[in-house]
């Protein structure tokens, strides 16, 4: 199994990390945690 990445916050920053890290290393195990009900909003 690849490294475990935990991202706290799924706003513009966190969501960009998730997308780019996953693209570069699909074997990573990425979890994004968001305290609200929505992710990645174009403000």
């Amino acid at each position: 199994m690849g490294k475990r990445v935990v991202i706290i916050g799924a706003g513009a920053g966190g969501a960009s990390v998730a997308a780019e890290a996953q693209r570069g290393a699909p074997s990573l195990s990425i979890t994004m945690i968001e305290q609200r009900a929505q992710v990645s909003v174009a403000a």
């Binding site: 490294k3 475990r4 990445v5 935990v6 991202i7 706290i8 916050g9 799924a10 706003g11 513009a12 920053g13 966190g14 969501a15 960009s16 990390v17 998730a18 997308a19 780019e20 890290a21 996953q22 693209r23 570069g24 290393a25 699909p26 990573l28 195990s29 990425i30 979890t31 994004m32 945690i33 968001e34 305290q35 609200r36 009900a37 929505q38 992710v39 990645s40 909003v41 174009a42 403000a43």
Partner: protein, 399 residues
């Protein structure tokens, strides 16, 4: 989001850049409605509300900002809002629909306050703005904030200056009553837009170093000093290419770039975030308002010898129908002749000038360079001497 509340963007789906389902399809697990209580660095685990634990090898903090509140009695009453997250926009929009809203009060005169004035006025709702200062948007110099204030008043926004808010109570004619040092005012909704600060509760708990800005310190790879811990977006600092200082400018475009840099590095790549020049803009009614780089105070604080000049000129070629006035203020360093910053206001052409000047700041151009930049000239878009050229040459003569 103000454009969603003001019915300019009608479909909420269009605001969601990517849904949790879309992320899951790519193999990223998303947990919404989930709070992180604590990061247990010794165990290498994140502890979630409810007690569940999530082990990590690499941790990324993208905790964003928290809206500031005035800290007055009644500020948590129903009908009092902040606008930070999409859920706030949904709540405000629902409130405006369900509660017959005839009058709104906005507290604070920053970006959000300005955009919300327009959104709410466009819904036909009477709007009153309370500001603790005398002029709106303090990122801009008084010559320009006065123009912004005139624009607000022209669109029937009542602007109350030097206001101190004291309490929110139940109203008689409207739902709520705001008590201030200038007496009482009633409204059906109150928006608190007094500012935001970086959300760094977890970072503090972890003992991560914060900068003078109160945001998390990172290096050019978006790494914190702690091994395996990154930070991105509004909660962390950015390198300002003009001042050479680390700053915190909470804007989504910066967060996107920093996120991509961190993601590239986590995914095995090698990338640095090259920094920012402080470019920003907003629209209020018929006015474009934009700025980039440093103002004179910041420039002096950073060790420069700032000189500035405000030039009023044409947004497009003078003889063209539809031409409007454009104000452009340039700030430069007397010692080196380098451009340090710019501000612009006008019904058209302000943002395009500031974007051009942002590239000039990025490259470290001097007023001599800017005064003869090759720009895309045609009468519908500018004069054969653009206001950029005119302003740079005029300031150059003053050095």
């Amino acid at each position: 989001m103000p454009y969603y509340i003001g019915d300019v963007i009608k479909e909420e789906k269009k605001l969601i850049a990517r849904t949790p389902e879309k992320f899951r399809e790519t193999g990223v697990e998303v947990r919404i409605d989930t709070r992180v209580e604590e990061v247990d660095e010794k165990a290498g685990e994140v502890r979630l509300a409810g007690g569940a634990r999530l082990p990590y090898d690499i941790l990324v903090l993208g905790t964003g900002t928290t809206p500031l509140m005035p800290g007055i009695p009644g500020e948590d009453r129903e009908g009092v809002f902040t606008l930070k997250k999409f859920t706030d926009a949904l709540r405000i929009k629902a409130w405006l629909r369900e509660v017959p809203c005839r009058k709104a009060i906005i507290i604070g005169a920053g970006f959000i306050g300005m955009e919300m004035c327009e959104a709410i006025r466009n819904l036909g709702i009477e709007t009153q703005l309370f500001h603790r200062g005398t002029l709106p948007v303090n990122r801009w110099d008084p010559e320009f904030s006065q123009v912004v204030l005139d624009e607000l008043r022209m669109h029937q926004v009542e602007f109350v200056t030097d206001a101190e808010t004291k309490a929110v109570e139940a109203g008689k004619e409207h739902r709520l009553r705001l008590v201030t040092n200038h007496g009482e005012a009633e409204a059906d909704m109150i928006l608190m837009a007094v500012g935001i600060r970086p959300e760094v509760t977890l970072a503090k708990q972890m003992g991560l170093p914060l900068g003078k800005t109160g945001a998390i310190r990172v290096n050019f790879s978006q790494k914190t000093p702690r091994e395996g811990v990154y930070a991105v977006g509004d909660c962390c600092e950015s390198f300002h290419r003009v001042s050479g200082r680390w700053v915190n400018i909470p804007l989504g475009d910066i967060a996107n770039k920093q996120g991509r840099v961190a993601g590239r590095n986590i995914g095995g790549g090698a990338m640095i975030f090259p920094g920012i020049v402080g470019a920003q803009s907003f629209k209020v009614f018929d006015l474009e308002v934009a700025a980039t780089g440093l103002d004179e105070r910041e420039a002096a604080q950073s060790g420069f010898h700032p000189v500035s000049m405000l030039s009023w000129g044409n947004a497009i070629a003078g003889p063209m129908p539809g031409n409007t006035k454009l104000g452009l203020k340039l700030i430069a360093d007397r010692a080196t002749g380098k451009l340090l910053g710019a501000q612009a206001v006008g019904k058209a052409g302000a943002v395009s000038r500031i974007n051009t000047l942002s590239a000039a700041l990025w490259a470290g151009l001097t007023l001599d360079d800017v005064g003869y930049l090759d720009l895309a000239y045609a009468p519908p878009f500018g004069g054969s001497w653009d206001l950029i050229h005119i302003a740079a040459q005029a300031l150059k003569r003053k050095l």
